[in-house]
Amino acid sequence: MNHYLVYGLGGALIFSIGVYGMLARPHLLHKVVAANLMGSGVFLILIGLGNRVQGRPDPVPQAMVLTGIVVTVALTALGLAIVKRYYTVTGLTTLDDDPPETDA
């Protein structure tokens, strides 16, 4: 059981924690954090499994993860902007209850 399995399984665990957070937590900020956790989980699996050959890490998963990190920060920035705007307009921090009808 060399170290790539530790990170691969850790990534799988973090991805499923992210799935739990996305489904179970109603607060929108928790959902954004959960999405980032899912992303980090996938990245861990990607680079973890890219290290199966000792001493020669595979550069392609690293390039994919670099692209993934930038895309995830873009998604998070948009998500937070929408959450804050929704809070300013309706005062709600979750999607469960219906907002008052205010079409700006």
Partner: protein, 493 residues
């Protein structure tokens, strides 16, 4: 290397450059830049269709590194067809938007950004239709997702923001699951290019699970029934040119990615049972979506649920792939033909419904009685588009459904044909209900047409195009025969 060879690259870079330019230039000149970019893309896409028909499908090696090391763009019949479709519908939406965002709406702070967001969406659609690399599909899906969410939340109202938030979280979930699938497939097979995957994939449970994860994520993006919860509110509360583009093009983008994965990448029998599941979900989408559309009281919600139903038709093609190549090609022709007619008819329908709603000032159907007398062109457009979506004989919609039904019967799976016919009847039900209200001869209080005449003839030309598309069916069948095959040995049973 002739200019024609660079068409796929130019088709992605042109809208990208247009988007960057509209962000830098004066806001006044943005519509002009957008329309010019649209015209260039239309020309390039017509060139691509001619090139594919003449010289057959081809691969474009970016940086000429070749498949395993670099990324390849793939231009075959199906992708050329969808690129041309997005060019036609895109140009129509752009022309309509030049008026929609001109009047009082231009003051709303977000609307200045419409043109840049719209051209970014156009880039992502062309890139998604042309890419041959599964990780590149992920980046394109992100581009589509972010531009679509930004366009839905453009008016900033509480409904639009709520729909945008739900749309964003479902596309985040889909994107992460898709990337997980790519991670598993790459770790199992060691390659990212679709052509190489097709030739190296043999019955490998890990890669099969990865591929199923990717298809499942794309189902969420295509809003196939169990995963359609985000679509009605998103398409309903977006500005009408945006909802036209969403229903006509964005949903087809992720469907095309599923087509690539299921047909061009997975060899027959590699994903046991998945095609049946897709067929069953498609059938439930047709029935359930049409029933929901029947129950809607607002015109945009009705059209959005009709999209949920019409998407179902596209998934009937997967179980028919078991019945051999020629039956499958007939079914695929029917599905692509349906995708095109639905795109044209639905975008025309949404734009006309948007103009009508802005003329009335509200969207409740039963308060729009007697609209025909004072807005004849708009109601005629709605009727023409409705006829096509119902699939009544002379229209393109009929030809598509006819091809699908005959393929289903030829494959001996008659139950799909039954579902298709009931779907057509249900579509007729909710269309006639809407048209009945609009054609009632009670006086309707309409404010005078504020927009330019293009808010009327653009939707009309789209709906007319959808109806007359039956004339173009030989072109479609020809393109379909040159599609998907370039990636693998064809679909033998």
């Amino acid at each position: 290397m002739s200019i024609a060879h660079h068409l796929p690259a130019l088709l992605v870079v042109t809208p990208l450059a247009g988007a960057a330019l509209t962000f830098v230039t004066e806001r006044r000149r943005d519509p002009v830049v957008a329309v010019l970019t649209g015209l260039t893309i239309l020309g390039l896409s017509i060139g691509l269709v001619i090139r594919v028909l003449a010289a057959g499908p081809f691969r474009y090696e970016i940086g000429s590194w070749g498949a395993p090391v670099g990324i390849d763009l793939v231009a075959d019949g199906a992708s050329a067809l969808f690129v041309l479709l997005s060019a036609v519908v895109g140009l129509a939406v752009t022309v309509y938007a030049t008026d929609y965002f001109r009047g009082s709406r231009a003051s709303v702070c977000g609307h200045g950004m419409f043109w840049t967001l719209w051209l970014f969406m156009w880039t992502s659609l062309n890139a998604l239709f042309l890419t041959g690399d599964i990780f590149n599909v992920y980046v394109c899906l992100e581009l589509v997702g972010i531009s679509a969410v930004a366009l839905v939340t453009l008016n900033g109202g509480s409904q639009a923001l709520r729909a945008g938030a739900r749309y964003l979280f479902s596309s985040m979930l889909a994107a992460m699951t898709y990337l997980l699938g790519v991670a598993i497939v790459y770790s199992a097979t060691g390659s990212l290019d679709m052509g190489i995957l097709r030739s190296t994939l043999v019955s490998d449970p890990a890669a099969a699970t990865g591929l199923s994860l990717m298809v499942a994520a794309l189902l969420l993006k295509t809003a196939l029934v169990p995963a359609h919860f985000w679509l009605p509110s998103a398409h309903g509360s977006a500005p009408s040119p945006v909802s036209a583009a969403l229903s006509a093009l964005v949903v087809k983008g992720s469907y095309f990615a599923i087509l690539r994965l299921m047909i061009s990448v997975a060899p027959p029998g590699f994903l046991p049972g998945v095609d049946i599941v897709l067929g069953v979900l498609g059938a439930t989408a047709i029935i359930w979506g049409s029933l929901q559309a029947l129950a809607q009281t607002r015109i945009k919600q009705l059209v959005a649920y009709s999209t949920v139903a019409q998407i179902g038709y596209l998934f009937i093609v997967f179980p028919l792939a078991r019945a051999g190549t020629d039956v499958f090609l007939l079914a695929l022709g029917g599905a692509l033909f349906h995708a095109i007619t639905h795109a044209l008819a639905k975008s025309g329908f949404f734009l006309a419904a948007g103009s009508l709603a802005s003329r009335f000032g509200y969207e409740r159907i039963d308060e729009m009685a007697g609209a025909a007398r004072s807005a004849p062109v708009l109601v005629m457009t709605l009727a023409l588009a409705g006829v096509t979506m119902m699939g009544l004989p002379p229209s393109g919609g009929f030809a598509a459904k006819w091809m699908l039904v005959s393929a289903a019967l030829a494959a001996g799976q008659w139950w799909w044909a039954l579902v298709l016919v009931t779907g057509g009847l249900l579509a007729a039900a909710y269309m006639f209900r809407l048209l009945g209200v609009l054609l009632r001869d009670s006086p309707a209080a309409l404010n005078p047409p504020s927009g330019a005449i293009r808010t009327e003839w653009v939707p009309l030309s789209l709906a007319a195009g959808a109806a007359l598309l039956v004339l173009a069916s030989p072109l479609v069948t020809e393109l379909v025969n040159t599609s998907v095959l370039v990636l693998g040995q064809g679909v033998t049973p």
